[in-house]
Amino acid sequence: MAQSTAAHTHEAHGHEAPRSFIFKYVFSKDHKVIGIQYYVTAMLMAWVAGLLAMLIRLQLAWPEKTWPGLGRFLSAGFTDGVMNPEFYAMLFTMHGTIMVFFVLSTAPVSGFGNLLIPLQCGARDMAFPFLNALSYWTFLPGCVVILASFFVGAGAAAGGWTSYPPLSALPGTIPGSQAGQTLWIVGMVFFIASFTMGGLNFLTTILNLRTKGLSLMRLPLTMWSMMLVAILGLLAFPALTGASLMLIFDRHFGTSFFLPAGLVVSGQALVGPDGAPLHQGGSPLLWQHLFWFLGHPEVYILMLPALGFTSDIIATFARKPIFGYKTMAAAMVAIAGLSFVVWGHHMFVSGMSPYLGMAFAVGTMLIAVPSAVKVFNWLATLWKSRITYRTPMLWAMGVVSLFISGGLSGILLGQSAVDIPLHDTYFVVAHFHLIMAGAALFGVFGATAYWFPKMFGRMMNETLGKLHFWLTFVAYYCVFFPMHYTGLAGHMRRIYDPYQYEFLKALQPINQFITVAAFVLGAAQLIFLVNFLWSALRGQKAGENPWQANGLEWTTPSPPPHGNWPDEIPEVHRSPYDYSVPGVEADHVMQTDPAPVGERAPHHAG
């Protein structure tokens, strides 16, 4: 009985603040520490994946040149200073895998989700702190496994980030399909397990632990995005779990889930000693359906948090309520819902019934409607507002810009008739780097600058921040915008030496331009690294509410103490977007302010 009393006291106060260094900063159960751990891990993974991209660009610009220095350093990937084709395949595979899962799903969702959910919902911590810590300590081995795969026998996975069989299922097809592919699957299983634990925590915390007065319609839009991301993750990732398991059985135990009969690998028919095929009847298309049933919601897992951050940041720096709050939330719900019925648009070239393709195309085009709602509402928020161009605002406007320029090509690609010639060209590479990767990345940078006070109690340096933004913004467009052109001109994706084809030779100068821009883009990130480290240690101290914003996270010291609020958890009385409220003297009203009598309701109040 004594044990149970102790357990109860323990629980009523949330978990107590740990005293030893190792439990405070390493095996912490505090959501803020876990969020920062996720964030820092993801950013380190981003450097790895970014360097892989630099090598890809190097090859595409000057495939004929030799690089003896690089060749000595990366001896496994180069022969006499010339990159091996297998190495190139590994580069784009691992660049995609690491960026999509271990960087852009992790930094905004697991990083900022963990940091912000209890702070914006008014909770002492996430619903299940131990599960939360377990989630990070499951994610980290996943990172280690993925990084380790570079160093096994024939190198890391090289079958594309989508791991289509038969390439990924038959170890004999390419060097990357040996141990590297196995580790790819193992790493993904760790990732999915960690994301599932995180998703359960996210959803439970947002729906069960909100403070008094914080109705769903008073949630910051970042919280709406996190809630939807958690639902998408919980419902979509199991498809990949199941498919990965079946792929493992196909690879190692001789089953034929994805492998048809009649396969010929390196000129050898895949037959047993008796002449019967080793595999038969399996369907490579089955993998594609299962993969993209996850894969499409997955790209919205990357996107939605950036849309949420952007809404919060734009309202703060425009000093206006977000235009059409309810439609903003509804648009995110619609985008999330539609993401489950459009996976087929990734498979138009794999072959499908034209009627089914039509359904997928129509569903895809429907996504333009809620997306346009978001863009117009952001623009309406900015309309006639008094914009303060601080670093977070620049990044948020960058997200809006990328969301438009990447979204427009999405409408083209959503139509099967247009997609079929453009699929597997650089047009698609341009599209998804602008909208999915770019918007998510800019969202992360914006959120970093905006919520940095809640991470480290300090402000990031504005000068370095602006320099980093402008270099990144210009370089980003210089890299990815010309790819529309190279794609239309016929430059295929995933090809080691495009200039082996006469008709692509003319594209070499533009590819060299893209590569130089990519190097500038990569180098600009050093500014961020310096700014991040310097500001975390030496930055100007931030007060409770440096941006004069309204949310609950700005009612507690920076950084917030263990348990988030030194005293009682505040109650919520209004929307988080009450800026420039008519009839109120201050230009913003905190979410915790009880409504003054006789105040005219702002137009968006529901």
């Binding site: 044990q3 996430m126 702190p129 359960l200 199941g242 399996g282 369907s283 089955l286 299962l290």
Partner: protein, 216 residues
């Protein structure tokens, strides 16, 4: 340990709120939830469990779609169910019944009886897993292995994944039994409710798999 995994932050505790009365404990039933929301929204552990069951359901839905698609192929050879499966099904159903008995005894504060019924539940669950293994051996004795044909592949994979989830249920059983022996529940508390939710779900899932694999 499920009990540790479900260590939780209290729901809303504003002025005069408090994290529910005395009844709310990790992995336990809902207490009076103070100012918190009513129903499942006032009970984070139950909510998270249902969300988890949602994600497990999606996993088996994915397998189902793969199964239906694969079954249309020419090399499909229908497999006869190993006879022991029907016994296993009865064992699992009996374990659900005995768990309900344990739950009712606990609510009635008849602790020794509750403990006995709970032990029966765990043993029946263990027997089910052993029975599934026997089913695999029966098939193997007939020369039907994992890679023999698509139906057998699905049989081994689906029963295996189900058994892994059931082993998780057995770990929860160990934790629940330990809590019961340590008198970690309050009188009248429906302490085995969440465990029962999970366990019955696994039973229903097994019934579904049986129908999918051998009846449809």
């Amino acid at each position: 340990m499920p009990a540790d995994v479900l260590e939780k932050t209290p729901t809303f505790s504003g002025p005069g709120g408090g994290a529910g009365g005395g009844g709310e404990r990790p992995g336990g039933g809902p207490g009076p939830s103070g100012d918190g929301a009513p129903g499942i929204l006032g009970d984070p552990a139950a909510f998270a469990l249902w969300a988890f069951l949602g994600t497990v359901s999606m996993l088996f839905l994915g397998f189902t779609s793969a199964y239906i698609l694969r079954r249309a192929s020419a090399d499909w050879r229908p497999l006869a169910a190993p006879p022991v499966l029907w016994l296993n099904t009865a064992l699992l159903a009996a374990s659900s019944v005995s768990l309900e008995a344990a739950r009712r005894r606990l609510r009635g504060w008849d602790l020794p009886a509750s403990e006995r019924w709970l032990l029966a539940t765990g043993l029946l669950g263990l027997l089910f897993v052993a029975g599934q293994y026997a089913g695999w051996r029966q098939l193997a004795a007939r020369g039907v292995f994992l890679a023999s044909n698509p139906h057998s592949s699905f049989f081994y994979v689906l029963t295996g994944v189900h058994a892994v989830h059931l082993l998780g249920g057995l770990a929860w059983f160990v934790a629940a039994r330990r809590r019961l022996r340590r008198l970690a529940y309050a009188p009248g508390e429906d302490g085995l409710r969440l465990f029962a939710t999970y366990w019955h779900f696994l039973g229903a899932l097994w019934a579904y798999l049986l129908v999918l694999l051998f009846v449809l």
